[in-house]
Structures are given as structure tokens and as C-alpha cells.
């Protein structure tokens, strides 16, 4: 019995090994629309930590954009064949790298969308440049994509560390949170956020009393929460720049140390709806942060969110909305250019004014391929005031496009 089983597994393994797919040659752009088909690829995290923020919901958003485009242009569309494909990168940059190649080369994707996690997004940007196809980042926050690693084939659609830090840092300070205690995870994103927060706070006339790097990942933030009330002068705001599970740790422990009662408010760097759900909206109520968009922003946003909910049964995240917006404008640009050749499409996109349900007052900057648009300072809604499940945020202030994003980075050389 044992032996038979072993043989079976061995055979199965050998089978899996041999079951490779035949390779196809690189695509050759013959007509105006290569293969008379536009392929939109969504490379995302289908199961990991970003699966709710991006994931299957992003795939659906891009599909929705394709459907709307077909409906809008009907017979006048450059092609009727618009296909949406997806792949999972498991938040691993090497998987993202291989999958991106495969999607561009073998599955003939004309543009990729989404790609959470900065390391994965940077890897995909490189492949986009090598493959000479477009990539629209909506999910990674690193400023490097529009900085040192910018390239003519990569666009940034939704947000970045500057937007997150600048909005919250400046606005909270202006509203009276003059002295800050900053705790940031000790890795590239955390260090970057910390620097940008500090600039924003000081620029608005505030002061950073102290800043501490925290281990990543960590279960215990008590060290810093204990330290906060004893600082001189006592900080008005605890700026917690952790993300995901670490942020949940910070908030749970912030709550237990009763810092809000001691006059220390909480401001966070990056907060997703899934984080609010994890910690509980009641615990976070009143916490301020900056977001690129939220579905309950206004009628226009809600109208789109309702249509999205009809398809998926869920409310969209800002990332999913950005995917729809990016895919729509990509298709529009293809329609205008009459070809899906990346360089031609890019010419139509660069400098484009964009004003839709997602991006207000937006311009797609030609210098660094960043879409600058209005951002929103929001706070977590008291759950008692929520209109429905998933109604987590309310608007505090709109940050106009001109202020929301920084100037194009001097490190960016399009070539």
C-alpha cells in the first residue's frame, strides 16, 4: 500500500513537471491594433494581505471599464476584442517579475494595472520598460516609481507616500496638533514617510518633539506608548506610520494605554478599509488620515460605487476605483491614437486633463507620469453615524491637486 501510494505521488510529480505549456514567439504588431485585440492585464495580490484592497475587486474594476468602453463606442471602437486577464503575484517581487513578463510576452497584454507592494511594482515597471508596454500603478505607494525608477512606460495613478504624509502632516498641524511624536517602522517606506511627515509638520508651523524607529514586524509597541506622555513638551499627536497588522497592534495598544484621554491624538500614515475593519471603527473613530478617494465622497463617486456594488456586492476601495479610472483613460487614449502601440498611446496620455469620478482636477504630468489630483483629508466615522457596512470615512478637508502631490522629482529622467 505504502509503495503504491509513493509511486502514485512520484508519477504525479513527474506529470506536473512535464506538463509545461509550449512557448510562443514574441508578438509582432502587424495592424494598428496588434492581433486586433486589446489585452488588459491585472497583476495583483489575489490571496494575500492586499487581496481586499486590490485583488479580485481590481480585476472586476478593470473588467467594468472594458465593458463600459465597449458599450460607449459600440461599432466605433478601435476593436471589439477587449480581454481582461489576471494573475496572482502573492506579494513576491520575483513572482510579479515572471508573471509580468509572461503577461506581456505570451498573453500579449498591452497594459498592466494594479500591482500592490512597492518591490513588486518596481519590478513590474522594469519589465514594462523592457517589453515596451504600459503599466499603470494604482496600488504601490513608493515615490521611487515617479522618481529614480520612473520610465516612459509606467504611470502612477492613485497615491504615493508624499500624498499620504503631506496631507495628514500639514492639515493636522494647521488644525492645532502642533507637537508630534512620530513612530515609524524601520524600513524604506517607513523612513521615507517619516521624512515627508516631518517636512510637512514643520512646514505648517508644527514641531516634531521626538521620533523613534520601531522594529518591523513587531507585536509590542508599549515601549513607545509609555514614552509618549513623558516627553517634554507633551506631544499633541502620535503619528503612527505603521501599516497593516503592525498598525492594528499600535492601535490596540494605544487604546489600552488610554493616550487619547491623556490628550494625545492619533494620526496615521496609511489606513485601508480592511485595517479599520480589523481594529474596529469604534476604536479608530476620529483618527485622521489622507486618502486618494473614498466611495462616499459625493454623488458622482457614490453613483459609480453603486454600479460597482451591483457587480460585486462590495463597496470599492480607492485602489479599485483608480484601476477603473486608469483602464478607462487608457482605452480612451487607444481610441484616440487608433493604435495600441505603447509609444503612440503614451503621447495621447501625457499631459492629459483628467476629471472623472475618481480624479478631480487631475493632470497626467508628462515629466514624471504621475497623475496629480485632489486628495482628501478624512477621519474615521463614528460607527453610529455610518450609513451602511463599509461606510468608514468622512471628509474633513479637500487637498487641491496642486498641493496634494509634490513637484516632479529631480531624480526622474525619462529615457
Amino acid at each position: 500500500m505504502k509503495r503504491r501510494l509513493s509511486t502514485g505521488v512520484a508519477l504525479a510529480a513527474a506529470g506536473a513537471l512535464l506538463a509545461g505549456c509550449g512557448g510562443g514567439g514574441p508578438s509582432s504588431g502587424g495592424g494598428k491594433i496588434s492581433d486586433d485585440q486589446i489585452v488588459l492585464g491585472v497583476l495583483t495580490d489575489l490571496s494575500g494581505i492586499y487581496a481586499d484592497i486590490a485583488g479580485p475587486g481590481s480585476v472586476e474594476a478593470v473588467q467594468m471599464a472594458a465593458d463600459d468602453f465597449k458599450k460607449k463606442y459600440g461599432d466605433k471602437a478601435v476593436t471589439k476584442n477587449i480581454e481582461v486577464i489576471k494573475a496572482d503575484h502573492q506579494n513576491k517581487p520575483e513572482v510579479a517579475n515572471t508573471q509580468a513578463r509572461e503577461m506581456y510576452d505570451r498573453k500579449k497584454a498591452d497594459a498592466l494595472f494594479d500591482v500592490p507592494t512597492s518591490s513588486a511594482a518596481l519590478a513590474v515597471a522594469t519589465i514594462a520598460q523592457q517589453s515596451k508596454r504600459l503599466y499603470f500603478n494604482t496600488a504601490a505607494a513608493t515615490t521611487e516609481l515617479a522618481g529614480k525608477s520612473c520610465n516612459p512606460y509606467t504611470y502612477e495613478w492613485a497615491y504615493d507616500a508624499y500624498m499620504l504624509a503631506h496631507g495628514t502632516g500639514a492639515k493636522v498641524t494647521e488644525q492645532g496638533g502642533k507637537s508630534w511624536y512620530m513612530i515609524y517602522p524601520d524600513y524604506a517606506f517607513g523612513q521615507d514617510m517619516q521624512a515627508k511627515f516631518t517636512t510637512a509638520v514643520e512646514g505648517a508651523g508644527g514641531k516634531v518633539v521626538a521620533k523613534d524607529p520601531t522594529p518591523f514586524p513587531s507585536d509590542n509597541y508599549s515601549t513607545f506608548l509609555l514614552k509618549a506622555p513623558g516627553l517634554k513638551p507633551k506631544p499633541d499627536v502620535l503619528g503612527a506610520l505603521q501599516a497593516g497588522g503592525d498598525l492594528a497592534n499600535v492601535v490596540k495598544q494605544y487604546e489600552q494605554f488610554k493616550l487619547r484621554d491623556k490628550g494625545i491624538e492619533l494620526a496615521v500614515g496609511l489606513l485601508f478599509d480592511s485595517d479599520i475593519n480589523a481594529v474596529g471603527a469604534d476604536k479608530l473613530a476620529g483618527t485622521t488620515f489622507t486618502t486618494a478617494w473614498f466611495w462616499n465622497l459625493d454623488d458622482e463617486a457614490r453613483a459609480w460605487a453603486d454600479r460597482y456594488k451591483e457587480r460585486t456586492g462590495k463597496r470599492p476601495t480607492f485602489d479599485q476605483a483608480a484601476d477603473y479610472s486608469a483602464a478607462t483613460h487608457y482605452l480612451e487614449a487607444v481610441q484616440k491614437a487608433g493604435t495600441d502601440k505603447a509609444e503612440e498611446v503614451s503621447k495621447k496620455l501625457d499631459g492629459m486633463k483628467i476629471d472623472d469620478f475618481f480624479a478631480r482636477g487631475g493632470t497626467l504630468r508628462a515629466e514624471d507620469h504621475r497623475l496629480v489630483h485632489d486628495a482628501y483629508l478624512v477621519k474615521v466615522k463614528d460607527p453610529a453615524k455610518a450609513e451602511e457596512d463599509g461606510d468608514y470615512t468622512e471628509l474633513v478637508d479637500t487637498i487641491p491637486a496642486a498641493e496634494a502631490f509634490g513637484q516632479p522629482s529631480p531624480d526622474c529622467h525619462m529615457s
Partner: protein, 343 residues
């Protein structure tokens, strides 16, 4: 090189030996025709890594749960050399492997002071330390953004096509495999095997047991580094994933799946896992850990010989019934001599 590989199979009858060698080389040269070339290149890298790992586990009987430290350190070092020097990628990879060996010396020196399960825990812990350092030292490693933009440099050859790159890296992998095999077959390798079977006797014969273990450890780290460096060049970057403990776990899974101590079985284990993950990721089934984990549990429970070992066992059993091949032997910790009696 081919002769050396042929020698590697000396234990088998001539027909089987040449048949296997031919099949192996055919597979090595034909892989990128059948599989997507970047995936084929991944199989080579992981295959060499798993063989290097088996050199330590299967032949010295030491279970390292921290080999990601060497694979990853070399990936970073290779990347840094390639980015800053513009030298051919062969040089960069060699430099990376040297860096891995350099790191392995102190870690190995400390780790070989313990054996068995302690060795596994100690190596795991040290690898975790390397991970934290890589994460914090963002100026050099790029932190969680990874070290991006590692070039595939080779004067006179355009390696941007993965298909071409595969054949450029293949000789390095084959050399690595032959080296691993030479170590096993050398007089040195026989002493190492003796250390695994009975360290006390080898010590009594006057061999410095710990030094032998250390040398195998460093050699294994060097070969792992070779693999890690190639992997970084193949993908064009090195990331924290390379030094994370899941990578150590992955190579353990591959080797156990292929067959501990079979050396070549590790190649099959690596190919199977890489292929499986690629297929799962493309098919949209996301829980790769669930699948590989379950396969691994079943392997450990019911066929500890792994794919290669089981096949070899069956072949030999058919040839001469009754001469069962023993299951792979792992080194005991010294206070483990008293096994509890199953009741």
C-alpha cells in the same frame, strides 16, 4: 564535465547510467523549449540550491533551516557587484557566492557546535537575523523595495532574451552540480558521511569532526550562493523574499520531496515545486503553501525516500527483491540516543 556526470551514476548499471545522463542533459538543454524560459531558468537556480542544500542535509546529515541567508546574501552581493562594476555576470555571481561563503564561516562555526534539532533552530535564527539586517540596511539593499535594476552583463552577447540567458547560465549550474558531486565522492566526502553515521567513531579515528562539518557547511553555502546570484541576475533584482525564512523552508521542501541524500533527486524536487507554483499562480489558485505543505506532509509521513529515492528503491527492488534500500539517515543529537519506545 559529461564524463564526470556519467561517473556520478556509477552505482547504477551501465544502461541505466547512460540513459539517465542522456535524459538529464536532454532535460537541461531542452527545458527552455518546453517551458517558459524565465521559469526554466528558475528551475535551474532552485535546482542547484536544492542540490547544495542536500550536500549538507543528505550527506553531512545537518538540517539547516537558514539557507536563505546564503542564497539571499549572494543575491544582494551579486546585484551590487553587477550594478556598480559592470563586470560580466559570471564575475558578479562568483563574487556573490564568495560573500555567501564568507558569511557561512562564522554562522557555521557557531552552528556546528550543536547538532540535530538544535542545528536547525540555530541556523533558522541566524538567517532571521540576516533578514532583519537586510531590511534595516535600506541604503545598500533597497529595503522592502528590493535591489532593483541588476543588469545581465556579458561582453558581446545580448542577454536580454531569457532564452539566451538560460544557455549563458547553464554552464555555471552544471559546474556547480559537478562540484557538489565531486565533494560527495571525494575522500573528504567519505569522512563527512562517516561523521553523519557515527561521529564518535570518526572523532576517535582522529578526524576533527567539527571542522569537517564546517567545511561542508561553507561549501554548501558557496553553491547556494552561486544559485542565489544567478537567480538575482535572472530576475534583475534581489528582494527581502530571498533572505526570508520561507525561502529556507522552500529549499527544505524541495530536497525532501526529491529525496534526501540523493543529490539529483533535489533537482526533480526543485523542478516540481517551481512548476507547481508557476502553474498555481497562473491558474489563479492562490494557496500555494497549502498545496506544497500538504504534499510535503505526505512525503514526510509515507515516502521519506522522496521521488528519486523511491524510484531507485523500486528499480533495485525489482532487480533484486529483498535488498531494500534504507531510508535516509539523519544525524542524531547526542542526547537523543534514548528513543522512546512506541507503545
Amino acid at each position: 564535465m559529461i564524463l564526470a556526470l556519467a561517473g556520478a551514476l556509477r552505482r547504477y548499471p551501465a544502461g541505466v547510467r547512460w540513459g539517465l545522463l542522456a535524459a538529464g542533459l536532454l532535460a537541461a538543454f531542452g527545458l527552455p523549449w518546453v517551458l517558459y524560459p524565465p521559469v526554466a531558468a528558475d528551475i535551474l537556480c532552485w535546482g542547484l540550491f536544492a542540490v547544495a542544500f542536500d550536500l549538507l542535509l543528505g550527506h553531512a546529515g545537518l538540517l539547516s533551516f537558514g539557507h536563505a541567508a546564503f542564497w539571499g546574501t549572494s543575491a544582494y552581493a551579486t546585484g551590487l557587484i553587477a550594478i556598480h562594476s559592470g563586470l560580466p555576470f559570471y564575475v558578479a555571481v562568483l563574487g556573490g557566492a564568495a560573500a555567501a561563503a564568507l558569511l557561512a564561516a562564522p554562522i557555521g562555526y557557531l552552528a556546528v557546535r550543536r547538532s540535530g534539532i538544535y542545528f536547525a533552530m540555530v541556523t533558522l535564527a541566524f538567517a532571521q537575523m540576516v533578514y532583519f539586517i537586510a531590511n534595516q540596511w535600506g541604503d545598500v539593499t533597497g529595503g522592502e523595495n528590493g535591489l532593483q535594476g541588476i543588469p545581465r552583463e556579458l561582453p558581446g552577447v545580448d542577454l536580454s532574451d531569457s532564452f539566451v540567458f538560460y544557455y549563458a547560465m547553464l554552464p555555471v549550474v552544471l559546474l556547480g552540480l559537478v562540484t557538489a558531486w565531486r565533494i560527495v565522492r571525494s575522500p573528504f566526502g567519505r569522512v563527512v558521511a562517516g561523521v553523519r553515521e557515527n561521529p564518535d567513531r570518526v572523532r576517535a579515528l582522529g578526524y576533527p569532526v567539527d571542522r569537517y562539518k564546517l567545511v561542508v557547511f561553507v561549501a554548501s553555502a558557496f553553491l547556494s550562493g552561486l544559485a542565489g546570484g544567478l537567480y538575482a541576475v535572472n530576475h534583475g533584482f534581489a528582494s527581502l523574499q530571498e533572505v526570508y525564512w520561507t525561502t529556507s523552508g522552500k529549499v527544505v521542501v524541495m530536497t525532501v520531496l526529491g529525496g534526501i541524500g540523493t543529490l539529483w533527486g533535489s533537482l526533480i524536487g526543485a523542478a516540481a515545486v517551481v512548476r507547481l507554483e508557476d502553474w498555481l499562480s497562473t491558474a489563479g489558485f492562490e494557496e500555494t503553501g497549502l498545496v506544497t505543505g500538504s504534499v510535503f506532509v505526505v512525503t514526510v509521513l509515507v515516502f521519506r525516500r522522496g521521488v528519486w529515492g523511491t524510484l531507485a528503491h523500486l528499480l533495485r527492488y525489482r532487480a533484486a527483491p529483498g535488498t531494500a534500500e534504507p531510508e535516509p539517515h539523519l544525524e542524531h543529537d547526542h542526547d537523543d540516543t534514548a528513543q522512546r519506545v512506541p507503545s
